[in-house]
Symmetry: C2
Subunit: 217 residues, 2 copies
Amino acid sequence: MQKVTFEISMSLDGFVAGPEPSLEDPLGRGGERLHEWILGLKSWRASHGRSGGEEGLDSDLLAESIAAGGATIMGRNMFSGGEGPWENDPNPDGWWGDEPPFRHPVFVLTHHERESQAMQGGTTFHFVTTGIEAALEQARAAAGDKNVAIAGGADVAQQYLRAGLLDEMQIHVVPLLLGAGVRLFDDGLGAEDQPRLERVRVIDSPAVTHLRYRVVK
Amino acid sequence: MQKVTFEISMSLDGFVAGPEPSLEDPLGRGGERLHEWILGLKSWRASHGRSGGEEGLDSDLLAESIAAGGATIMGRNMFSGGEGPWENDPNPDGWWGDEPPFRHPVFVLTHHERESQAMQGGTTFHFVTTGIEAALEQARAAAGDKNVAIAGGADVAQQYLRAGLLDEMQIHVVPLLLGAGVRLFDDGLGAEDQPRLERVRVIDSPAVTHLRYRVVK
């Protein structure tokens, strides 16, 4: 059955990027340390068109996620870091290179219309200006039997979570204290407005602890 | 070897108490849900002088922590919720009843001197006005070969962590979003000022995921 999923690396103190993310430093100060565990994995390298890399628990887990996804949704910030009209975006082609690792349709949430853009390797970026539900509807259709992955950032994931549109969430807890930065879960609504979670699976690897939860509807 | 340890229940979104903790509601709105997993456990009930309760992974883990501790340190807020001179404290005898569950010496950090107070069941409260290092020194001596447990609150734990005085930290991640409240890890210093952590052990129980880290000195 098709699911809407979200997964992200989070420091033990709750940050998914370091402080002051910018065009030059999209993960914020120190934020690249959140992703160190993933960069050497065989499955990550394969998705980026590279050979070699470490096999094992973490690589298998990532391979599972990659295989499960049939479409991706991301915020404008995660696509290019820009805002406003595209002609003023200093990074209009985005951060993902000529051959992005998604290899399926990617729906970018934006307030500014733009033609779809087919990339090498199977990724096509579609730009959706009609909101998170419309983007999800398009992504669901594009994904077929596979899952729709909400890629981020944190604000986009929170919007889907609070709208009751997320089925599963996997948090990769990195044994790291960032001290400051962008929180996955910002202060917001009280407990009564939060969805209920059920633990689905915990995978403990030396580098990271992978916590998977089901969002109870 | 004697260790200085800290453990606490934390919601997935990083809170260790709900919003607006008060004398009437010391865990804040919704905060009692963080501790539901512990209240029915056999080892928790035994520490509170009660019989019965659930056996299993969680109970064994708690029993292990209880057996390992020879002295406890807590903040004034965790003792009574009060501040200022003791004669003005609306809750001067604290929250812990006539027979507190610690059953060993407990050192309470306070700015206001007070005589030690022996309770039933082996707990004696000592009031330390000379800072976190002095309290630790006294607790270390009192604990003998056993560990010193930093009981909390979050601010006290952070002080010990950042002073490099903590050896191990165990976080019980509760599959719960509180949305607001008291964070274990507040925004603070940047990554470069944070201690480095190493994962020691992950125990996955149906109710809670227990993450234990060593603080690298």
